[in-house]
């Protein structure tokens, strides 16, 4: 048994042990025992993923009841990347859960669901054949479905969210099943190694690509299949939503990479266009919805749609560029996709854990009722702030490096020889630029309204710093965001080797260099330079401040400039109001302004009530009519079943006659 097989076996054994511990331990000790067991499972997952990533190969297989069908775990290097992502996120979430879970989230079933969910998550990228892949995929769906239902007693909307989630996740599974069936029928085998014989330009290849991409896009939460994401993520307990958002939707990315890199490499240009369009629309729509929503967790869920959209955009660009033979830019786009995936895993995990801490401390999820948490929860604020920088793709964070790489690939891939490229890449640049701008607004809003200013509710006023495990989990995530942003070189090299890109180098203080594009980025050197430049300014302004001490100005009447009440501050809604106006046609908010006049004169206003309701346009315009149609169909089809025994007998009689007639023809 080689190291990889050993690590995978250890992981499976620890997972079994964790399940037993979670099921049997007494309620008072459960969170510690089950949490530590889950930590151990995640740690062994990181080891296994690390072995796979460094090029070890190994196969674990178990026979099934069906002849010639074995369950096989055989991770390759790409799988290793995603095993490491899934395990690392699980590790942080489990650590967080030790301090966080209480009530129904600390129940036996919630812990079991969490362990099964995260195990399935780590097994999906390890699978070596279709059956194992789908089995792990369903384990993942099952566990997360139970987790979405955790608070169903107190939150009725959890039930509806779980229903949406279950339907969409089953849709995803059915599409995958169909796609894999197409591939397996064409090749006559279900092992991944055998599926590669399908030609990407054949009709079979095209059909499989469409089915699999739609299936994976559903899981990844791409528009217009994202509809479950803003419902399910807010309802699950925060450690579970962190794993769902930071790792589970990544499995959609992994699956897409599996299709375009492993099963059918060298896909035609239209594949790239499909992925580009899907990703571009998702990125813009996701961040637009995120920028105007006020619910912290819903905002983060929409931002997930945006980030996954960017990753698909990068994959699409890579396929498109490769189809036109522009290898260097194509490889840079692929590297950008992986960097985006890792970066998103780090900052989104930290953000969701931080959001959980906010909900835990204040009991509020509505940004309009938060504020002032920076003073009350300094550790959480620090972690959340760094992660928000990462999400806004600002320098010295991982998000910046990833988007920089993406831009490099777009810029160096632009060519006038191929019309699709000449059109697609500039549009993609515009999309990414718009997304980055809106992301900045969104996360300034999230951090500024949530953590700065004065508390807007008593819940926010009474907030207190959360327990140590919760703090540390969020901080480690934030540290990863910085580490990936400051030393991108070594990480990019590891990622590049996982997908067979050789042309990536480390330069300077862990900087990233892409020699074939002739570009390099050394964040550490940039940071040092910036510090050196800023130092004189800081020194001079500090000195001049000492020379002119600040005068205290106490105005008797503040000219409206003195904010006497927290209600006079900007709220999340008012901050996003300009955006709402600009994108009015897309967002279509419902706004009510009710003005009550004073009884003495109708020129005097006694009260103004403003109400704004935002709904997902795609849900209202796309899904609701579909659901209404299905409902009508159901009502009509009830006439078939009117309760008359004779009618039922007639059905079978007619069926029998038809069969007989068909047979005799």
């Amino acid at each position: 048994m080689n190291p990889l097989e050993g690590a995978l076996t250890a992981e499976l054994l620890i997972a079994a042990l964790a399940c037993i511990v979670a099921a049997l331990s007494p309620a008072s000790m459960r969170r510690y025992l089950a949490g530590v067991a889950t930590l151990a499972m995640a740690a062994s997952g990181i080891v296994a993923g690390g072995f796979a990533l460094s090029g070890h190969t190994g196969t674990l297989s178990a026979p099934t009841a069906l002849p010639a069908v074995d369950l096989t775990l055989a991770p390759d290097r790409l799988g290793g990347v995603f095993i490491v992502i899934a395990s690392a996120v699980t590790l942080l979430a489990a650590l967080y859960a030790i301090g966080y879970v209480h009530g129904s989230a600390d129940s036996r079933s919630a812990w079991l669901a969490f362990i099964i969910f995260t195990l399935g998550l780590q097994m999906v990228p390890a699978a070596g054949d279709v059956i194992t892949f789908l089995l792990a995929w369903e384990l993942m769906a099952l566990g997360s479905g139970v987790l979405v239902l955790t608070d169903h007693r107190t939150r009725p909307q959890a039930r509806s969210a779980a229903l949406w989630y279950a339907v969409m996740t089953q849709l995803s599974f059915l599409l995958l099943l169909a796609g894999f069936a197409v591939l397996a029928t064409a090749t006559g085998s279900t092992t991944f190694d055998a599926l590669v014989t399908v030609s990407p330009t054949s009709t079979t290849g095209a059909l499989a690509f469409i089915l699999l991409t739609l299936g994976f896009a559903t899981k990844a939460g791409l528009v217009p299949l994202h509809i479950w994401l803003p419902r399910a993520h807010p309802e699950a307990p925060s450690h579970a939503s962190a794993v769902m958002s930071a790792a589970m939707v990544k499995m959609g990315v992994y699956g897409t990479l599996l299709v375009v890199l492993r099963f059918m490499p060298g896909g035609p240009a239209w594949w790239g266009i499909v992925l580009l369009v899907l990703g571009g629309i998702s990125a813009v729509y996701g961040i637009l919805q995120a920028s105007v929503t006020s619910d912290v967790k819903r905002l983060l869920a929409y931002s997930t749609t945006e980030n996954i959209g960017l990753i698909f955009l990068a994959i699409g660009a890579s396929v498109l560029l490769a189809a036109y033979g522009i290898t260097a830019a194509s490889q840079a786009a692929l590297l950008a996709a992986l960097l985006l995936a890792i970066s998103h895993a780090a900052f989104k995990c930290s953000l969701f854990l931080g959001a959980g801490a906010i909900v835990h401390a204040t009991g509020e999820r509505n940004l309009d009722r938060l504020g002032g948490l920076g003073v009350r929860m300094p550790w959480t604020a620090a972690a959340f702030g760094v992660a928000a920088l990462g999400a806004a793709a600002l320098p010295v964070t991982s998000g910046f490096v990833a988007e920089w790489t993406l831009f490099q690939s777009f810029i160096h891939g632009a060519t006038r020889d191929a019309i699709p490229l000449a059109v697609a890449l500039p549009v993609a640049v515009a999309v990414v630029a718009l997304t980055a701008g809106l992301a900045l607004v969104t996360f300034v809003k999230l951090y500024g309204i949530g953590f700065l200013a004065r508390p807007r509710s008593t819940g926010a006023d009474d907030a207190h710093e959360v327990s140590h495990p919760m703090r540390w989990a969020a901080l480690i995530g934030a540290a990863a965001v910085i580490a990936l942003g400051v030393f991108p070189g070594p990480i990019a090299q590891v990622l590049a080797s996982a997908v067979g890109i050789g042309d990536v180098a480390t330069i300077g203080f862990g900087g990233l260099s892409l020699p074939s594009l002739g570009v390099l980025l050394d964040p550490m050197a940039l940071a040092i330079t910036a510090l050196v430049c800023a130092l004189p300014v800081v020194v001079v302004s500090a000195l001049s401040a000492r020379r002119h001490p600040r005068r205290a100005t106490e105005l008797p009447w503040g000219c409206g400039g003195v904010r006497v009440s927290p209600r006079m501050q900007y709220t999340a809604t008012s901050y996003a109001e300009p955006l709402m106006r600009v994108f009015d046609d897309t967002l279509r908010p419902e706004q009510d302004v009710v003005v009550t006049h004073a009884t003495e004169s109708r020129y005097l206003v006694a009260q103004v009530r403003y109400r704004q309701k935002l709904s997902d346009v795609i849900e209202v315009r796309g899904y609701r009519p579909l659901l209404a149609f299905a409902d009508r169909l159901g009502v009509v089809s009830r006439r078939l079943q009117n309760g008359s025994l004779h009618r039922y007998l007639t059905y079978s009689f007619v069926a029998l006659i038809v069969v007989l007639v068909v047979v005799s023809l």
Binding site: Q641, N642, G643, S644, L645, H646, L649, T650, F653, L656, I657, L660, V661, V663, S664
Partner: protein
């Protein structure tokens, strides 16, 4: 037994089966239907006996006695007890007798068409009688659909079962005793259970018209 006598006896019993089925479709009186069903049972037993005599197997003769006891005596008795417990034995079918008879004729034709590939052009009398079994199954189904009363449903079910048994005997040239025993017990149980249910219906709803049961859906 000479071959021609064998063929004639097979045709006679099979013809009786079909004739009784057609008469059951025609008659509205439940008592008459039960009597016809008993005749049908005798014909089926006769068919099995002829087969057993021709094949010279004592087992088939035993089976024929079993069939005679069950289908010609026990089941009609059970049914007639049910019918006799209340005075109204008129069936009001959903389809008038003429239309039912036309349907029965069409179904018999369908049965012959369906069986054409099996029959081929052999002169084997058992193969030539197989369509009658199929026709019996279809006519039994027709009775189930068009009759309202619970007792008529039972009669339809038994005609259907007779059809299945006929096909089984003719195609496999007899059925082992143990298999027939099992099948007969099944039928007996089904009839007894339905009998009990019909009694309950009578008590609960004051009638056994199945059209009154449509409220029980969902």
């Amino acid at each position: 037994m000479s071959e021609s006598l064998y063929a004639q006896l097979i045709s006679l019993t099979a013809g009786t089966l079909l004739l009784t089925a057609a008469l059951i479709v025609w008659r509205r009186s439940l008592r008459a239907s039960v009597r016809l069903l008993a005749i049908q049972g005798i014909a089926l037993a006769g068919l099995v006996a002829v087969l057993g005599w021709h094949e010279r197997t004592i087992e088939l003769v035993l089976v024929s006695l079993l069939v005679l006891g069950l289908k010609a005596i026990v089941l009609p008795l059970v049914l007639s007890r049910n019918v006799l417990t209340h005075d109204d034995d008129r069936e009001v079918p959903r389809l008038n007798p003429t239309a039912s008879l036309i349907f029965a004729a069409l179904l018999t034709m369908l049965a012959y068409i369906v069986c054409r590939p099996w029959m081929g052009d052999t002169d084997d009398p058992t193969s030539r009688a197989v369509p009658i079994g199929i026709a019996l199954v279809l006519i039994g189904f027709l009775l189930l659909i068009t009759r309202r009363r619970a007792a008529s449903q039972l009669i339809g079910f038994l005609v259907l079962d007779n059809g299945i048994a006929t096909v089984a005997f003719l195609t496999a040239t007899g059925v082992p005793l143990i298999v027939e025993l099992g099948a007969s017990l099944d039928v007996l149980l089904v009839v007894l259970i339905l009998q009990v249910l019909t009694g309950r219906m009578q008590v609960k709803f004051g009638g056994t018209d199945l059209d009154d049961l449509t409220e029980l859906k969902d």
